[in-house]
Structure formats: C-alpha cells, structure tokens
Symmetry: C3
Subunit: 207 residues, 3 copies
C-alpha cells in the first residue's frame, strides 16, 4: 500500500517534470518559427534526451520506448503551449518550479538506475548529470544556439550535488525513500537558491 | 524466384535512396566550402544517420557496418557531384523523386525491423520517422543550420502516415509485400503532393 | 616485463593525448565565455567523444565509464588552462605535438578494438577515423561552429592512412607492437607534415 502510493507520487512528479521539460523545448522552438512537428520533436527530445543517452551508455532500451506516457506528455505540452501561449509568461514561476522538481527526479532516476547496475558511484553521479542536462543541450543544438547549461546557472552543479548525496546515503545503506527524497531536495534547493540569488559558475577567461 | 526479384528490387531502391540522401548532404556541404572529406562525411551521415540511431535504440549493430554498399554509394555520390556540379540544378526533380522513393523505403525498413523485434506499433512508427528524418537533422547540424525538417514541408508527417499504414496492415496479417508497397507508396505520395501543392505544417506561434 | 613497459608507455601516451584533446576543447570553450562546468564538459567530450561513439557502435560499455583517469585528465586540463592561460599561446607547438601523438594512439586503439571483435578491416578503419575525429566534431557543435575537421587540414585522411597500415600489417600477422607503432607513426607523420607544408584536402566547389 505504501509502495503503491510511493510509485504514484513518483509517477506524478515524472509526468510534471517531463511536461515542464517539453514546455521549455516547445517555447524555444516556437520562438524560432518551428512548425508543429518541429516544436513537438524539440519538446520531446528536451524531455527524454538525457535519459536516452544515459540508457544507451548503460546499454538498456531507452526508457521512453517502453511506455507511451512520455510521448503523450510532450503532445500535451504542445497543445498547452498553443492554447495558452499568451499566458505562458505569467506562468514562468510555475514552469520553473516544475522544471526544478523534474530535474530533481531525473537525477534520482539516473543515479539509481546506474548504481543498481553495479557501476561505481562516480559513474552514477555522471549519469545523474547526463540525465538532467543532455535534453537541454540537445534542445539548444536543435535551435542552433550554444547550450545554455554551459554558460548560465548552477544547473549541472545541482545535479552533481544531488548525485553525491545519493551515493553517500546509498553507501551507508540509508533508507531508500529517504535517500531519493534527500537527493531530489538537494537538487531542487540548489537550483532554486541559485536562481533566486543569481549564483553563477565563474566564466573561464579566454587568452 | 519471386523472392529473389523482390530482394533485388528493394536493393536497387535502397541504393537509389542512399545515393539521393548522400547527394543532398554533399550539395549542402559544398555550398559551405567543406573539403572532400567533410562533404563525404556529411553525405554519408545524411544517408545512414537515421538508420544508425534507430539501430542503436534497438540495440543492434548499425546496418552500414555489415555491408560496404552504403560507403560506396556515398563515395559515388561525391564523385557524381564533383563531375556534374554544373548540371545538378537541372536534375533537381530527379533527385527529389529518388529522395522521396528512398524516404518511402527507409520508413518501411525502420518500421519493419522494429515490429519484427516485438516492439509495440507506436515504437515502430517512431523508428520509421527516426529512420527517415534523423540523417537530414544531423546534416543540418553539421552545416550549422536549424534542421530543415523542423521548419518546412510535410516530411515527418509522411513518415508517420506510412508507419500507420504498415502497422495497421501488419496487425490484420496483410500480405507482407503489399504492406511494404502500400507503406512506401503512402510516404512517397504524401511527400510528392505536399511539395506540389505547397502543403506545410502550421508554424507554432511564439509568445 | 616487456609487456609491462609497453602498457605503461601506452598509458602515458593516452594520458597525454586525452590531456591535449581536452585542452583544445577548453580553450575553444573559454573563447566563447563558457563557465567552468561548460568548459569542463566541452574538454571532456572532446577527449572521450570519439571513443564513446565507437564503443556504442561496437555495443560495448563506453571506455571512460570503466576508469576515472579520463575524468581526472580533463579536470587537470581545466585547471591547467585556468592557471597558465596567459602562457598557452607560447605552448601551441607542444599542444600540437601532444594532440598529434594522441590522435595516433586514438586511431590505434579504435582500429585494434574493432578488429579484435572480428569486424572487417574497412569497419576497423572507419572506427579508427571515428575515434580520432568525433570528439572534435562534437566540440565544434557545442561551441556552435561548423566542425573544423570538415574544412581544414589532413586530419581525417591521416586517420585513414593509419588504419590502412594497421589492417594490412595485421592481415600479414606482423608483430603487434610493430603494427601499433607503425600505425601511430603514420598518423603522426602525416599530421605533422600536413600542417608544416599546409597540405589541405581540395574544397568541393558549389554549384
């Protein structure tokens, strides 16, 4: 019973995260005059790109090929953007919150899946970062921009911190639900604080 | 005997399609002053990129690693472009026809390979779209442009329609050769009609 | 004993090559105002991108997931660039030498790994080229430039020549250490001569 509730809660978060990631891809695509199909693909790839690259590195079937929910989420995001396009700006804070929660969950999924396959902790942390960031990197390559994650915000560092929390708690056999929650909370907290207080990584100075 | 003819016919179409896809990559690369190697790589990747990503998602060896014909086709396309470069524009309609026929075949191959591996129909349709479109997406990323398929023509929708035809006919146990032919015909017809009548997907309006 | 020395020598070269490849990525990233994380990722991907794509095509676990040395090399390269950024230009010849030696080794590793998996020689040569060039291609896509390898230098052709040397010597059962050395020497020699004498591949003329 408790497990069932846990699964449902994670499912809802995953759907929210997928939806928020897809929204970010579709909005940026629409700003570049993409057509319906293009915007849908960019939204879908933003949502599933990170987990796909992770699954290929882990040599398992990409997760979205086993469940239609990610495709439907991306389609729902497309319809949502088309209907509410004039009101999207006023929802920016909501999207940002979903996006951060989704990021937290993506990191948990990425780290957990990898560590359960008996890779070393640093590989698991790397896969957490990949799960969280590669979708956005592909999105920015598709719209022909330099990936935002390379230039702005403490996005990737939040993923690393979450990955460290997970692997440390896992190594001391902490309760799994607590481990997952603390990992996601770490990612979300750092992400929210970084944006609120304008934390940035230092720029690497050129020659 | 009938099977033999069928195989040979498909082989010829696959060679024509590979050739046409490679030509499109090489022409766009040459417009950006790529050198011989660069133009060859862009042509080759345009021709094999979609099937390669599909095969990686399906966890099988990329098809072009098992047969040299795709490499030779791309090399032939390079030599062809170099020799006939002043006459290529007058062949545009021929290339477009080859390209459309190739697209039809690529969709058939992508859907069929996936459905024979017992994935669900929607995964097969998705792999058909990936087989048909990813080569062109990679081509446009290499030449540093926004992928054309995201902004123009009914390219991807033709692949989706073909995939639906295949999976529906397959589910009712239709004759396989008929299923393949109808699938390719659907893709080719939609592609030709879309270009002739300037059908486009609607642009997603920005905020 | 001799084997031990051989391994150590190859290890040192691999570290130098990884370091040099990462440096090239980090320098180009810093010229585009990437932050610390972005520069690190670009450096890391430049160093490991080619071998990663090769390993995915060969369906084996990406090599860098099995050994932390590539991550540490990239981190060392980042710190090196930050500390010595004013003196990097004067080290250009040294980096170029490391880069060429690294390229020679990358080709050896790529060809050897593939041929040991019983693929045909032309696949092994292709994997040698992929191992040597894809990291730089991904680097240039990340910084939103047309890949340099498509437009300049005899980079890829040096990889092809090295691959041919390896597969020919391997087919006549030449001593393995000699085969590896001659392969790397071919790549390095062509690369150095090409830059010294400004050899370029011809540009493919547009229409």
């Amino acid at each position: 019973m408790e497990i069932l509730q846990n699964i449902r809660f994670v499912d809802i978060i995953e759907i929210l995260g997928t939806f928020a990631f897809a929204i970010s891809g579709i909005r940026l695509a629409s700003a570049k005059q993409f057509d319906l199909f293009g915007a849908f693909v960019v939204g879908f790839v933003t949502a599933i790109g990170g987990g796909t690259v992770r699954d290929i590195f882990l040599d398992v079937t990409p997760f979205w090929m086993l469940n239609t929910v990610y495709l439907w989420c991306s389609l729902a995001a497309l319809i949502f953007v088309m209907i509410f396009r004039k009101h999207l700006v006023s929802l920016n804070n909501t999207f940002f919150l979903f996006d951060s929660i989704g990021l937290g969950l993506f990191v948990v999924v990425g780290v957990e899946k990898t560590i359960f396959m008996d890779f070393e902790p640093w590989v698991a942390i790397t896969m957490g970062v990949i799960t969280g960031t590669v979708g956005g990197i592909l999105r920015d390559i598709f719209i022909n921009e330099i990936p935002l994650v390379f230039r702005k915000d403490i996005y990737a560092l939040a993923c690393v911190a979450g990955g460290v929390v997970f692997t440390v708690m896992y190594s001391v056999n902490a309760n799994m639900f607590l481990t997952e929650t603390m990992t996601a909370a770490t990612v979300i907290a750092i992400r929210l604080l970084a944006v609120k207080f304008h934390w940035h990584m230092p720029i690497v100075k050129g020659e």
